[in-house]
Symmetry: C2
Subunit: 370 residues, 2 copies
């Protein structure tokens, strides 16, 4: 009996599972985590109105969602002061990234990103046979100038820039990115991942014309809006590029419950403000915990804080593992020199108390002084 | 300013939106439908326990879903008496079809399906540059013998067979399909879409070994389980093929709410039985309505009934349009001779009463005797 005949590309892809969730770690350790601070989830949760909206439509889930995502797109258009034809709603930024890469990247096509930036973009690029070129972070920031210069050098079709950045939490002024776009080479699309932009200072979102064909921005309900598990996000771009998604996307792919929840979450901007205030408080608390333990918290424009453990990646990894052993789910950057840090998601007082209680012993273990 | 550089394949794909939802039609007509009988949704709805489970976790939606879908896969493994490694959970059959096609189909690779069968499979094949060969239905059944013969003739990598079939509602005994697989050519994967199998007579599901590398079966919570809007389904196949999905799938793509709902729905087999009884009642009622109007209801193994309007596709289309004009959402097969039919989803008494009230006028309009 014969096996399926995979494409050469599929055969070339690694068989290892690239993304390990906290539940997998919990099953491996045989116990749940006491604090879930590793995935930049918004522990403060979604708007109560979003929860109520999702609960209210749970019984309607026998119906497919509207494949046009019409109501949400209209609300987003009003919210952003643009047209609905500039907006594509999809299954989270991860889903939209996959569609975008599929539209632009054939085997051998080049992209540029920062070394150690969001791995799911790279996963999709590799998955479609693209070639990934990287440039280093500059002082813990993704660097538009070096990204765009590399894009010109390699003839990249896409350059990926997260603003604010994950995993470091740094950001640029949106106006600076727009100014830097003068150096974006012809025929290279800027993919601006603004997943965390609601958490960032005023002026971080790129002030670009909605119809500018040179870039696509991605936003999500997974972070500030607290709906990671609902799988809903959106892209902002020129109508031609937005329409192109219709060629490949899963038209009925967005959950009806997510559609209702996102619409309610968007309408409850007061809750968003409330969450952002809690994030501000949590950032300060994480910074204080770091200081009390001799670590340095990096400035952050996101719902997480990178803590510089003051040594190399091997040391930070020991800290991370010692925290996990104590039931604290955290993650860390993949690449040097950012991997001198561990990354702590903002959360309520209780979760951060748990982290604060575990950190001294974790550091002692990592230092071999336990 | 330059435009994005799409792949040649993306450029070649049609820009038209291939799937129109009922909400789009409602917006176009400026009024909601009085009965939603067109998308083979399960109007009887999901298990109350599934609804309660989804409502209970709505507040937990700040967490991503478990990327392994561990708990649901374990429960499905127990339910089917197979191993979890034989099961891949994904974003509905539509999502899983996309991943499977991506794994196997490069531009120019061939697939075989039936003329007028499920269009989303074709959408994915075209979207990855594959070549679609079709064979006709035989007496309103997809025909394994001619599908497999055509697959041998063209060297197909995938042959698609829905059992029960959509849009005709016909089915084969699973054992007959297994016997016919002797003629499945080497290196051709049988993709057996069992989306409606819970509605079918005992013996319809294919009695195959879980590790048989020649086929993959797809199941869903969208139909008998009534959760189309939650976007969750699963594939059953040999472990190697199941693992291959990990190379390309969106690992965090399944909604946390859908995971909880599906698990509860699976556990409530009593509700499933209850729904199946309601479907049986509705089939009979639709058949009676057809008879009373001089139409022929085809035998069905699904939650819908194909009604032979007794003439050609143009006539059936007029009936369909006249029903839609009266606020009844229905659909019809795409290809001749199946398009002599309209397709009516099973639903509660009220919905079918609405349909029954509208049908005589729709037929009169179609006949020009109104």
């Amino acid at each position: 009996m014969s096996n399926p005949r995979y494409t050469p590309l599929a055969q070339s892809l690694p068989a290892t599972v690239p993304f390990v969730g906290p539940e997998t770690q919990e099953r491996a350790r045989g116990a749940g985590f006491a604090a879930r601070l590793g995935a930049n989830e918004n522990i403060f949760g979604p708007s109560p109105q979003a929860i109520a909206a999702m609960q209210a439509v749970a019984g309607d889930v026998w119906m497919y969602g509207d494949p046009e995502n019409h109501d949400l797109r209209q609300a987003l258009a009003a919210h952003h002061g643009i047209a609905a034809q500039n907006i594509m709603v999809g299954e989270g930024i991860d889903g939209l990234l996959g569609y975008l890469v599929r539209l632009l990247i054939s085997p051998g096509d080049c992209v540029v990103t920062s070394l150690g930036a969001y791995p799911t973009f790279n996963y999709h690029v590799s998955g479609f046979g693209g070639v990934i070129h990287t440039v280093p972070y500059v002082e813990d920031h993704e660097d538009p100038a070096s990204l765009f210069a590399k894009a010109a050098e390699v003839g990249a079709k896409i350059v990926y820039l997260a603003n604010p950045d994950n995993p470091m939490g740094s950001c640029h002024r949106g106006a600076d990115i727009v100014a830097a776009m003068d150096q974006l080479p012809e025929g290279c699309l800027l993919l601006l991942d603004e997943a965390y932009v609601e958490c960032a200072p005023e002026g971080t979102a790129a002030p670009v014309a909605a119809d500018d064909p040179r870039l696509i921005r991605m936003r999500t309900f997974s972070k500030a809006y607290g709906m990671a598990g609902a799988r809903i996000g959106y892209a902002l771009a020129a109508p031609e590029l937005i329409s192109a998604f219709n060629k490949v996307r899963n038209h009925f792919g967005v959950s009806r419950i997510a559609q209702a929840g996102a619409l309610a979450a968007l309408r409850d901007q007061q809750w968003l403000e409330h969450v952002l205030a809690q994030i501000t408080t949590a950032r300060k608390r994480i910074t204080d915990i770091a200081s009390a333990n001799g670590l340095t918290a990096l400035p952050t424009a996101t719902n997480f804080v990178a803590l510089d453990c003051g040594s190399d990646g091997a040391f930070a990894k020991r800290v991370l593992e010692a925290l996990i052993a104590q039931g604290i789910f955290v993650r860390m950057p993949f690449a040097a020199p950012q991997n001198r840090c561990i990354r702590i998601s903002c959360g309520p007082q209780d979760d951060l108390d748990t982290f604060a209680a575990a950190l001294p012993a974790a550091l002692a273990t990592a230092r071999g002084t336990a």
